[in-house]
Amino acid sequence: MTRQWRAMWAGVLLWACGAVAWAEVPASAVRSGALDEGEPRLEAALLVDATQVKPGDPFRVGVRFRMDPDWHIYWKNPGDSGLSTEVSWDTPGTTVGALRWPFPSTFRTPDGFITTHGYQKEVVLFAEAQASAQVQGALTLSAAVDALVCAERCIPAEMVLSRSVPVGPETLRDAAATASFDVFQAQVPLEGESAGHTASLTLDAPALQAGQPFTGTLTVAARDGQPPPGVEADFFVPERLAGIARVALTQEAPGRFRLEGKAEPGAAAGQAPRLKGVLRLGTAQAGFRPMELDLAMAPLEAAPPGAVAAAPAPSFAGPGPGGAALPPVAAPAESSLSLGLALLFAFLGGAILNLMPCVFPVLALKAYGFTRLVQEDRRHVGAHALAYTGGIVGTMGVLAAVVLAVRAGGAQVGWGFQFQEPLFVAAVSAVVVAFALNLFGVYQLGADGTALAGKVDASRGLARSAGEGMLAVVLATPCSAPLLGTAVGFAFAAGPLTVVATFVALGLGLALPFCALVMVPGLARRLPKPGAWMEVGKQFLGFALLGTTVWLLWVMGGLAGVDGMARLLAFLVAVALGAWLYGQSQSTEGTWRWVGRGVALVVLLGIGGVALRFEEASGRRASSVTEAQPWEETAVAAALKAGQPVFIDFTADWCLTCKFNERTVLAREDVRAAFAQHQVAFFVADWTRRDARISARLAAHGRAGVPMYLVISPSAPDRPEVLPELLTQELVIQAVERAAGRRTDAT
């Protein structure tokens, strides 16, 4: 024992000598402990539910604790900190059973980081007792109490309580004490049978792995066939579980609970942890029914070899505000996604990208090209498919090279990053407009004026297919697709070869559906024959491409404001004029032809040079979802502290998938209602323009681009849930409900 310790006990004892006894218990059975600046925070009394005991009769003996407001003592599992309350009996001639623990309350620090379990205000910890037949005169009952009483501070309290109870021919109950015992006995969890319920547990995996999360389903069935009553906040409190780092239950339906947990990183293989704890069914209105849980989980398996070695190296970050600096989140671990799997995801993601809205204009073009192609002989069809694939893969290669070059320059890049650059948006707009004008027949692509529309020139067609492939990539990048985000995120965090390999796999995936389609034999006969209608169809598709420019202009508006949009429009007029002049030159001969082309070039360069000067627009454009706040880590932390679930929408104006999700899911009534009901704090992280903080946050979750949706529960701020790229209303509502519900978890 230390100096301070001893001094504290001396103080406690001195104070206790002068303690005022409670009316119904003798002075020897009452002590006050845990002094804080001279004031006691805890009073304990030894209660017996009988004033006279007949040997052999059962009676109850317990310690009643009364705490000052806001102060608490601890349950048998104190939780993340604190110390369990200990009562040791010294009762010669009397046997005392196991200590009964009423269902505890759960306490959390405001940030939800530390959770403890215990009792506030008043509790009676008690046991069943029985005097032996030999006892004569009086029973001597003593309890040594060792408790830690905490509010903001913690003060240890140690005290000995004792009293004697006369032995007589019959047991006389003490009404006041009996009532007090009954109140707390009703809160003591019962074993399954006496609780009237049986519980069973099914884990989703046959074994647990050290350091790994696990899930399962707990089912509670009532013996009488009635569905078990609902539950209220903090309905489950686990005991300390060997081999388990954390465990939590959330209600999915009456009587069905989702179990989520994580095995201890250092847990030994062969161990078979059990799910032990107390479950409180019922509500304050209908009454509570606490029950004990003690169920086998699954054996622990050894962690796969090399799991530790493959862990990411810690990244060393510079000092942040306050002098402390930490890597915001560890870099994505290679261990969880192998290169092969990443390439497969890239390939599948590329294929799915064909279904995303941003590739629609190109698909329209391809549909047209398709009717043209399938009429040709198989050799030509194959060549076109190859050219289209080559255009895609080649452009992907260029994109990968740009990514690597930018990264080598020390800048953060992500998928679709090029749309953060006004000049790039202008260039894409120009290409789209030029393509559209070509479809309108303003000029012929790469052929001299003698070439006639409708005459299929194989080499010209091949260049066109390759060009369409390039356009497909350029237009596809502002879209994200399922699997794509994960694959690209993996690539961006890896070496140069992985980046190139991933982009190539992505390109092959993007090209696959079209190639597969044109190669199907016999399709030609089912399609309409080429003819004059094709010219009409082609011109019509030109408008689809012009539609794309509307979106690109809107993106430019976000990047460079109204002035930027006007400049881009002026430039596009120059492109159109240049294309028209070029078209005119195609139908002339000799000198005029070259003069025409020269003038076209001068117009284009002249107007382009004047127009293409974009200044960054001031202020960010709000998301299309209302009530959104701009993303700030401090604001997120504040919302979580206030107990609000948080939804963060990582978006960008040029990201069509993001806009699609915002319009079709996030802005919908049902979703808004769910957000309002659970008081969700909605944040928008706008990546339209470069933002290193957002890039870092995306990388932290293994993503290189938007969209990304994070749902953070106030009870688990360190475990955000990442939603898939494509949202549905149900998906979002369920995630939000989970995040709100997790408030009631007892981890």
Partner: protein
């Protein structure tokens, strides 16, 4: 809708992998998060600067009765004694929100110990290490990998005659090239008084 659901099914398989690799907290067997913190004398310390040495992190708070008990009994100094000072580094970390350099300096003077007290008043490092109690102990090996996390010993109430000092057993194992026998234990003590 069906397409979206299929896409969801595909990605939900990934959803599990993503939070797992986003772990930003200390875990035994994995590299310990790096930090840069100033001590009570204003000197900066980072974990990376001590690569090649064993590092003990001790979460502390002089106002906590558990810490007071251990400092009264000189638990930390006794544990550190006997190891080569060029190989073992002891860093106390105080994440108490209202702590100041002056308070730590005064406490260090009263208790008369040698190692620095790092100030983590915003609690960032404490959160990264999931430090929950004072004391809460961490032992990091020469490569920066966390090898032990938990209580200082197996005697929360300070009543045992012979207790097992987990930090000492970890240091003994690491200095002699053996496996650490107990890699985690339930820390005990007061709650870390983080900024709220």
């Amino acid at each position: 809708m069906k397409r979206a659901l299929t896409a969801f099914a595909l990605t939900s398989a990934l959803g599990w992998a993503v939070p797992a690799l986003a772990a930003d907290t200390a875990e035994v067997g994995k590299p310990a998060p790096d930090f840069k913190l100033k001590d009570e004398a204003g000197k900066e310390h980072s974990l990376s600067q001590y690569k090649g040495k064993l590092v003990v992190l001790e979460w502390t708070n002089p106002g906590c009765p558990f810490v007071q008990r251990h400092y009264g009994a000189n638990t930390m100094e006794t544990t550190l004694k006997g190891y080569d000072a060029t190989k073992v580094v002891w860093l106390a970390v105080d994440s108490t929100s209202d702590n100041t350099a002056d308070k730590s300096a005064a406490w260090k003077k009263t208790e008369g110990f040698s190692y620095p007290v790092l100030l983590d008043t915003d609690g960032k490092v404490g959160h990264a290490y999931s430090a929950k109690t004072t004391p809460h102990m961490y032992v990091i090996d020469e490569k920066g990998v966390l090898r032990y996390a938990g209580a200082i010993d197996d005697d929360p109430r300070g009543k045992k005659d012979t207790d097992v000092n987990y930090v000492k057993t970890a240091l003994d194992a690491l200095t002699t090239g053996k496996a650490v026998p107990t890699v985690t234990s339930e820390p005990y003590g007061c709650t870390v008084k983080y900024k709220s």
